[in-house]
């Protein structure tokens, strides 16, 4: 693997990490505000996380 490719892969992982952190953080906030909607929030969180992960993996495989 060449160095630019490695850097690209690292950037992808950083981006995905930031995204996942934001999703998780917002979900925590939402659950703290409305604990009775925990189930719905978790489902939505997992869907978004899965979509993000799909993009991250696609990019990693393109590398």
């Amino acid at each position: 693997m060449e160095i630019p490719v490695m850097v690209g892969a690292g950037l992808i992982v950083i981006g995905a990490g930031i995204g996942l952190g934001m999703i998780g953080g917002s979900a925590m906030d939402a659950i703290a505000r409305q604990p009775e909607a925990t189930g719905k929030i978790q489902t939505a969180m997992i869907i978004i996380a899965a979509l993000l992960e799909g993009i991250a993996f696609a990019a990693l495989f393109a590398v």
Binding site: G39, T43, I46, I47, A50, L51, E53, G54, F57, A58, L60, F61
Partner: protein, 367 residues
């Protein structure tokens, strides 16, 4: 013998198999020498990720022996040809059938001349002709096993309900999972017409879940980390979504309401592309997650043999254990996500306007 005892013996057998497997790997590394350990680990990883014509439990590197059993090879090359993979002697020997020669090279069957020479193209890939391969490989064996297992499990569950309202034995484990798929995946995402799709969702959920869990056993059958299999699963979802799509679904793809005509023409190809990217994402997600998990676990195990000292080995053993536990979570999560997204896509296709009276009806204030 009591049931608990049988379980204990099975568990002990599993541990023995794990330790034997590790010993075998160690022996393999020792003979190859320290310089070749890296390539050895890489090769081992590559073999583990690929489908195989052998079902190998463990190998003895010193003697160069593989303990397992060969699987039947079924190829179509101007006629159906069936023979056992043991004829290949792990790629060392050619198989002659009706004047044609076949060679096993990197787990794939190539047609060669009598000398068995593999020719390479400019990009380094073999250019030899490949016969159509319908073999019962390791992955196929795993899938058949899972199919039989699922049939037995759910047949027992169904039988249970005929006799009593509360299931007994292992069915008690399955019941909450089935209800979970119904109440938390199918009902909220598909809506009132969920019953028709329950059989598909349950099948796909348990199929992926059991295959994922099977991949974590020492047999190391990497089925869901094979893109051909995830392609098949995603294709089924795609076909079901397209065939259950109602007129609203197609209207929203080809001639969406409430948008000016020039915009409709621009949006139409994007929507058609969106129709295709959904199953594509399903395919990539499952494949990438499972393959990445296997690569991480095997790499950490391989590091033990690369470092070969008393400090690194326990540390990497601990890491492997930790990652394996995460993989256990991922196995459930990926089965859940695949089912959930399938349900979501089906829900998008079968949704009627009356399903959400609150969104369009009385709750919106009339100005």
């Amino acid at each position: 013998m009591r049931k608990e005892n049988i379980f204990k013996i099975l568990l002990a057998g599993l541990f023995v198999l794990v330790s034997l497997n590790l010993n075998a790997k160690e022996a393999e590394e020792e003979t190859t020498g320290k310089i070749d350990t890296k390539t050895g680990v890489k090769e081992f990883l590559g073999h583990h990720l690929k489908d195989s014509h052998y079902f190998t439990f463990f190998s003895d590197g010193e003697k160069g022996e593989h303990y397992g059993f060969p699987l039947p090879v079924i190829i179509w090359d101007g006629g159906l040809k069936v023979f056992l993979a043991s004829k290949f002697h792990h790629g060392e020997e050619l198989v002659e059938l009706d004047g044609n020669y076949y060679k096993l090279y990197h787990s794939k069957i190539y047609k060669t001349g009598a000398e068995g020479i593999i020719e390479y193209g400019e990009n380094g890939f073999p250019t030899n002709e490949k016969p159509l391969d319908f073999s019962i490989t390791k992955n196929v064996i795993a899938m058949i096993t899972v199919a039989i297992l699922m049939f037995l499990m759910f047949w027992a569950l169904a039988k249970n309900y005929q006799k009593r309202s509360i299931p007994k034995g292992f069915s008690r484990v399955l019941e909450p999972l089935v209800i979970y798929v119904r109440d938390d995946i199918a009902k909220p995402n598909i809506g009132p017409r969920y019953k028709k799709y329950m059989s598909f969702l349950l099948t796909v959920f348990f199929f992926i879940l059991i295959l994922n869990l099977l991949g974590l056993t020492p047999f190391g059958i990497n089925v869901t980390g094979n893109i051909a299999i995830t392609l098949g699963l995603a294709l089924v979802t795609f076909i079901i979504v397209q065939f259950s799509g109602n007129k609203h679904y197609w209207k929203h793809i080809f001639w969406m309401p409430g948008v000016p005509v020039p915009m409709k023409i621009i949006l139409m190809p994007i929507e058609v592309l969106g129709m295709l990217t959904k199953p594509f994402a399903l395919m990539i997600r499952l494949f990438a997650n499972m393959m990445a998990g296997h690569v991480v676990v095997m790499s950490l195990l391989g590091l033990i043999f690369i470092f070969q000292n008393w400090i690194a080995s326990p540390a990497f053993f601990g890491f492997t254990l930790f990652i394996s536990l995460i993989e256990l979570l991922v196995a459930f999560l990926q089965a859940y996500i695949f089912t959930l997204l399938s349900a979501l896509y089906i829900g998008m296709a079968v949704e009627e306007h009356e399903d959400h009276p609150k969104d369009h009806g009385e709750d919106i204030p009339v100005i």
